[in-house]
Chain length 211, copies 2
Amino acid sequence: MSTSNSRVLSNPLGLAVLGLLMESPTHPHAMAATLRERGMDRVFKVTTGSLYDVVRTLQRIEWIEARETVRVGARPERTIYQHTALGRAEFVRWVDELVRTPADEYPKFLAAVSYLGALGPDGAAAALRERAERVRTSLAEIRQEHRRVLEAGEVPRLFVVETEYAVRMLEAELGWVEEITADITTGRLAWPEPVTGWIHTESRHPGTEER
Amino acid sequence: MSTSNSRVLSNPLGLAVLGLLMESPTHPHAMAATLRERGMDRVFKVTTGSLYDVVRTLQRIEWIEARETVRVGARPERTIYQHTALGRAEFVRWVDELVRTPADEYPKFLAAVSYLGALGPDGAAAALRERAERVRTSLAEIRQEHRRVLEAGEVPRLFVVETEYAVRMLEAELGWVEEITADITTGRLAWPEPVTGWIHTESRHPGTEER
DNA sequence: ATCCGAATACTCGGAACCGAGCGATTGGAG
DNA sequence: CTCCAATCGCTCGGTTCCGAGTATTCGGAT
């Protein structure tokens, strides 16, 4: 009955909000802008709706508080938030927890790979090659950006380690994709009988649509 | 009546449902059971609520259809579903799409790593070591299970590639975690001044806090 | 002076998600 | 034969999520 003070917030975007408030008080709209400027929208899913929800929750559980609501010009009002002592402590606790405890994630590619059989050897190889190509591209972009930031000086490596991690994981994925593609084309990964007829037949004539 | 026939289903659990129906018609409860038996709940988030939602959606967009509703003994009725021709085609299309197109994922660890600074060098190293340990453990379990399944004969490699992928990714993560931990303890990853005082002080005494 | 597009700041309501619960049933233990 | 625990199969309704929309203002090109 008492407005569920549920003492938990699962949305990682909350962490981003707390992180920003560690630097200085701001209002939601600016948070979104900053996160995007810094490319942190690769790390957190920044959607306006969720952002305002998260901020409200954070306020309810008293990890942050409204500091003032100002109006610049005759623009919509904006509410500026700052963290509380509790919020600062919980921020650290949250990070610690996330680092220590591997969470169950359900990446879509994992699901897709589970049904690779459905594409048939040729279809699978083709699709995998396209993925590889795309991964290579975004990998190149990220690497370049990373280098730019580091060499251009003013950001210590610590603030950029998450990119190193992201790159590592992409490399691993790419490596695997390339290997499995090779295994398919060389026949080292075989398509068992039942599957061969299975689904692939369907995809050859989708009726009303092609390519 | 334009009951939004929204022609899309994003929840990957839908893929699992279609996958099961490729084998033979079933009812939702059995789907959940089967998925768990086969350990596919490592790949798909199997929650009853969502399952029934997904099945309903799948039915609405006519990728599957109810085949009959039977009652065994005087147990609750169960509705048995089967795929439609459309469903079979879309299943393949969906897999193809998921393989080709890397999706934006937002793993929690990535978020956590972004704020590693907050833990201070010692805290970060400690947390990372714990993670490493846990990852090592689940890696061992998965590897063992994988070997068991393969050696025990009756499952072709194709049906198990997703495990190979999962293992690869875990190895990559573990490798990175170990390296970065080493970089921290050897001082190769430095904690810049501003951060040192920053937050770590807070976590030392959750009470009132000075600094 | 006027128009237009970008930026500012947030709201709103529908969609998706998911776990607790429910009402029954079967299979043993005693 | 009776009782309890486990299984069966599903529903319900509260969160959480999120993108389209709203209403305003600023800056610059015409």
